[in-house]
């Protein structure tokens, strides 16, 4: 389990990194925390000709408030920093609740926020979180920079809207809307494993207590983070009674997801868990939005 030969660059500025990306493009892989990439290389499942290591670029490791009341997280910010950030706990409680589910402390010490987003593992929590909250990804290259909405960023299995010369440098999290509630529910085989199924829920209740803008995003049940639009449609404009939530959860399981089978869970079991977790997440999120303690 040794990787094949590769060239290694460790730029100390973003400009230098973007220059290297422009030169090597398709043949290059960006090394962030290395928690997925290094294992993949050691298994010889990936054999990049060039590694561009971002670990020596300090400006990519930041957590800042935004003018809109949200947060900006630099791509090289370690999971542990996000987990322990008071700003995140205050402005992005759903993210705060999500972080402990990401692997183990050892992995969270090395793994990075941007790395997880760019890797786009369909079983990972952060891509689903980012879709639930309508986050945006900052992609930079020598050609310039652009903000990509999470809904447009994740395009398939381990694939994103990034161009070969682009690097994810930051992620922008909007402020929590007024009268909103959230919930994160996950089931995994062992503590710290990739989710069999996890759901990130964010919704708003209007003045009459009816659901508005329901964002229910799943991981582990598709080729990327799956946004449950059919379930959201069931809830839209409805007061979230137990019956309505049950109906929405059932639609999420039947219409929104198309889970795969693997050695840990069959498609049928995953679909069943989508139903159970959607119900739990919607119930908790609605309660939070209504100002109840959860």
């Amino acid at each position: 389990m040794k990787p094949p030969p590769f060239a290694y660059h460790a730029p100390t500025t973003l400009d230098e990194a973007l220059q290297l990306m422009a030169e090597h493009g398709y043949g290059a892989k960006v090394l962030a925390g290395g928690q997925s990439l290094i294992a993949t290389m050691n298994f010889r499942l990936a054999a990049p000709a060039v590694l561009i290591d971002l670990n020596k670029i300090p400006e990519l490791s930041i957590i800042q408030p935004t003018a809109e009341g949200g947060a900006l997280v630099g791509a090289m910010t370690r999971h542990v920093q996000v987990e322990q950030s008071e700003l995140i706990a205050r402005t992005a409680p759903l993210l705060h609740a999500t972080m402990p589910h990401i692997a183990h402390p050892q992995i969270r010490n090395r793994g990075t926020f941007g790395g997880s987003i760019a890797h786009a593992d369909p079983a990972a929590e952060l891509p689903a979180f980012l879709r639930a909250v309508r986050g945006q990804v900052l992609a930079q290259s020598r050609r310039g920079q652009r903000w990509i909405d999470a809904d447009d960023f994740f395009i398939g299995l381990f694939s994103t809207a990034l161009e070969p010369d682009e690097i994810v440098t930051a992620v922008r999290l909007p402020a929590m809307p007024a009268r909103s509630g959230w919930s994160m529910q996950e089931l995994s085989r062992r503590h710290g494993d990739f989710a069999l199924v996890a759901v990130e829920a964010l919704l708003t209740l209007d003045a009459d207590g009816a659901c508005d803008d329901v964002r229910l995003a799943f991981c582990g049940v598709g080729e990327g983070p799956v946004l449950a639009t059919a379930a959201a449609a069931v809830l839209q404009g409805q007061r979230p009674t137990a019956e309505v939530i049950e109906a929405a959860a059932a639609i999420a399981a039947s219409d929104d997801v198309d889970p795969h089978s693997d050695v840990h869970a069959t498609s049928a079991y995953r679909r069943h868990l989508v139903d159970v977790l959607a119900k739990r997440a919607l119930t908790a999120a609605c309660a939070r939005a209504a100002g109840e303690e959860v």
Binding site: M1, P4, P5, F43, R190, H191, V263, Y269, L273
Partner: protein, 781 residues
């Protein structure tokens, strides 16, 4: 001999080195000019090798040698059968042993085909990708039952079928017992035991020194002496020319006593060919394919009882998967067959098994070594009987226990040590009572469970028992020497893989010689230090090596007393050995230090008496006539979420009886580690092969070991029923914890989900499998 240290919970002598990273493991051996090895392994489970083109690899810079089966010449030969079949009448056994490198045919995924030797492991792995092996794929034999179908493709084409072995054993007359029974229950049960997944993978460093004409080999083996003797024979060397060192080893659990692995045969030979040191460290992926597994059995069981729940007879037929070859004989299925009857006085038993070859990695013992399978079958059948007869689960066990006055108890079956299985001693009811008390059985069933169920929670309790035949022969030996420093050296040939031998054996010596265990230095697993012994397996270290060390230390004690008696001019019976001195019990000021005695026993000048042996040293051996039987009871309270099929262990207790306990801290650790592996086996770990014989669970992402988050705190209790078969009264404990966890899980899950009326007849479970069982009940309803 006083028992000052035996039985004490003292911290381990070896831990400072282990915990500070100072202990030597095989991969820590770095020699100048050392070469590195990687293997080209089969991607196919079954196929014919048409051709091998290694020409590109041979020309790569940094590649030193490339060997195929053809390149080995006369050195290529199948491995020797390691364990011969037991002497059972009517037994069938077809020995087909593993080969160093596949020739003509591959029989499991991961079988080694080509060995690459290079200046670094990186280069060696690059070269692996440049070897092209053309294999004509054959259908893979994966399913146990289909393996014996008349049209099944043959794995070993010189045989008539894929049958590797057949054994029938019985005691009493099952059919007449059945005729008298009030109730007869039949079930098909499936038990799959996963892989050991030791923290340290296998590894070998071999170096041939032409100047001294000696081969030195560091090997992660549980049996260094046997490896030395075998290597000498294979390489045409004398045994004294080969030194095998089994240094610290990060877990053995059985697979590291498979002999000989292809890599063990190849590395020393290549070192002699190339005249350079050579290293191979198995990586984790290889470990899944190339280190032996334990795996599945299918049982068709039948139990015959009176309506009071007394077992009159038991009948069992099973199929056992041995993988592509069967060098380890029938140890695993024999253990299943012989352990099934457990703690119970069952007068009539008929059991037959078939062993089948499949296109999978070889099966050899892994902690428990087939005992799990037998215990699962009996415990599950008792649970089903208890439910059917309306008898409490603990009570049906109590009613069938072998009473204490029936020991020694002869089960009449030929055991893995080739002699009839006779339980030496045991007292089962106190262990059950203690476990029930520790878990709060009565209170849970009468109060807590109804209360929690009323709250909508699904909680269940389980209680199971087991015996473990341990401490089998043939023998171990040891040399004990008091140095002129006053320190004590002990050498033994048994290997060590984390069992605490450096401490528990030191405690035995310390009590014999009146020294501190910290002053006893143990060498184990270096054949230059001691070259007699068989190895660490079958929970035999404390029993066989422990008693050998005790015997050698007792012999040294006799020498000390005789010599001190002369020096102090006092009769031996008046002397005692305390704190490193020999002294007169009545006049403690009349004393001589052991170090001074040791110096006097090895004079530099002057005459000694005829027949005198120098030094305070003795070598002795212990060979038990048969094994000794440990036992225990485990109980657990578990909660299931029927919506998600996820489980949570709320409480776990284990009561264990391994006779005299040398060090309770170490025994607790053994039991805990075993239970952790048992929990993995019951709910997390599963080896999955697809229909083509491809292993789908070849990484820790897919093969799920329980972590500290999944293993709860355990309460461990001890009962002590010393064995009459050895002076220390010890019984083995290494495997015990792992054995009964499967049926315990099954029982507790059934109880937690009582309203669903499930019957769990298989292990491992998983959330997915529980979901399926629950769904089938929902559909029934």
């Amino acid at each position: 001999m006083s028992k000052r240290y035996i039985g004490q919970r003292i911290k381990r002598n070896e831990d400072p080195a282990l915990l500070t990273g100072q202990a030597l493991f095989t991969d820590d051996v770095h020699l100048p000019g050392m070469l590195h090895v990687a293997f080209v392994r089969s991607d196919y489970a079954h196929g014919r090798i048409r051709s091998i083109d290694a020409s590109y690899a041979r020309e790569m810079p940094g590649v030193v040698a490339v060997y195929t089966a053809a390149d080995l010449g006369a050195y290529w030969r199948p491995g020797p059968p390691l364990v011969s079949p037991p002497p059972v009448k009517g037994a069938i056994f077809n020995a087909r042993t593993q080969v160093p490198l596949a020739k003509d045919k591959v029989r499991h995924v991961g079988e080694a085909i080509v060995m690459i030797v290079a200046e670094s492991r990186y280069i060696a792995e690059d070269a692996v990708e440049q070897v092209f092996v053309d294999i004509e794929a054959l259908p893979a034999v994966v399913d146990l039952e289909k393996a014996l179908a008349p049209d099944a493709i043959l794995i070993h084409e010189d045989l008539d079928s894929n049958l590797a072995a057949y054994i029938f054993q019985q005691k009493g007359d099952y059919e007449s017992a059945r005729a008298q029974a009030d109730v007869v229950i039949k079930r098909r049960l499936y038990y799959d035991h996963g892989i050991a997944a030791a923290m340290e993978n296998r590894g070998i460093v071999a170096t041939w020194d032409a100047k001294t004409q000696r081969l030195t080999m560091w090997d992660t083996t549980q049996a260094p002496v046997v490896i030395r003797n075998g290597m000498a024979a294979m390489l045409g060397l004398s045994e004294s020319q080969v030194r095998v060192i089994a240094p610290f080893i990060g877990g053995g659990f059985g697979p590291k006593i498979m002999m000989f692995y292809p890599e063990e045969v190849l590395l020393p030979w290549a070192s002699m060919q190339l005249q350079r040191p050579i290293k191979w460290i198995e990586d984790r992926r290889e470990n899944f394919f190339a280190t032996t597994h334990e795996r599945d059995q299918i049982h068709w069981a039948e139990i015959a009882l009176t309506k009071e729940g007394r077992v009159l007879g038991f009948k069992d037929e099973f199929i056992h998967d041995t993988g592509a070859y069967d060098p380890y004989g029938l140890t695993v299925p024999i253990n299943s067959q012989c352990t099934l009857l457990g703690c119970y006085d069952v007068p009539n038993y008929a059991s037959e098994f078939k062993v089948v070859f499949t296109n999978k990695t070889l099966v050899t013992p892994y902690r428990g070594a087939g005992r799990q399978h037998g215990v699962f079958v009996m415990e599950r059948m008792l649970d089903i009987a208890a439910r059917q007869l309306g008898i409490d689960r603990a009570e049906i066990r109590r009613r069938n226990f072998i009473p204490p006055d029936k020991f020694p108890y002869n089960n009449e079956l030929i055991y893995q040590d080739f002699v009839p299985l006779v339980y030496d001693s045991g007292n089962y009811e106190p262990a059950l009572d203690k476990a029930l008390e520790m878990i709060g059985y009565e209170q849970f069933i009468s109060e807590e469970q109804p209360r929690l169920r009323a709250e909508g929670r699904h909680v269940g309790i389980g209680v199971v028992t087991y015996v473990e035949g341990t401490g089998i022969g043939p023998y171990e030996g040891a040399r004990v020497q008091v140095e002129s420093t006053g320190k004590v050296n002990v050498s033994t040939g048994i290997g060590t893989q984390g069992q605490g031998h450096f401490t528990s054996f030191a405690q035995v010596v310390a009590d014999q010689l009146g020294v501190s265990p910290r002053d006893v230095h143990l060498v184990t697993g270096d054949t230059d230090q001691f070259h007699w012994g068989t190895g660490t397996f079958a929970s035999r270290g404390a029993v066989v090596a422990g008693n050998a060390i005790n015997a050698a230390a007792a012999a040294v004690r006799r020498k000390i007393l005789a010599m001190a008696s002369r020096e102090l001019e006092a009769p031996e019976e008046d002397l005692e050995l305390v704190d490193g001195v020999v002294r007169d019990k009545k006049n403690p000021e009349f004393a001589i230090a052991l170090k001074d005695l040791a110096a006097k026993a090895n004079p530099l000048r002057g005459a000694v008496r005829p027949g005198t042996e120098p030094g305070l040293e003795a070598t002795d051996y212990f060979g038990p006539e048969r094994g000794v039987t440990a036992n225990g009871v485990h109980a657990m309270i578990l909660e299931v979420d029927p919506e998600t099929a996820m489980i949570k262990i709320l409480k776990y207790v284990a009561v264990h009886d391994c006779g005299t306990v040398l060090n309770p801290l170490i025994v607790d650790g053994q039991v805990q580690g075993g239970i952790a592996q048992g929990i993995g086996n019951a709910f997390y770990e599963k080896i999955v092969y697809d229909d083509n014989g491809q292993l789908l669970t070849a990484s820790f992402m897919d093969y799920l070991l329980p972590t500290s988050m999944e293993v709860p705190s355990l309460d461990i209790g001890h009962e002590t029923t010393p064995s009459p078969l050895n002076p220390l009264g010890t019984k083995g404990t290494g495997e015990a914890g792992a054995i009964p966890v499967g049926p315990l899980f099954a029982q507790a899950v059934e109880d937690a989900l009582a309203e669903y009326d499930l019957e769990v007849l298989e292990i491992p479970l998983s959330p997915n499998r529980l979901f399926e069982l629950l769904q089938s009940k929902n559909k029934d309803a």
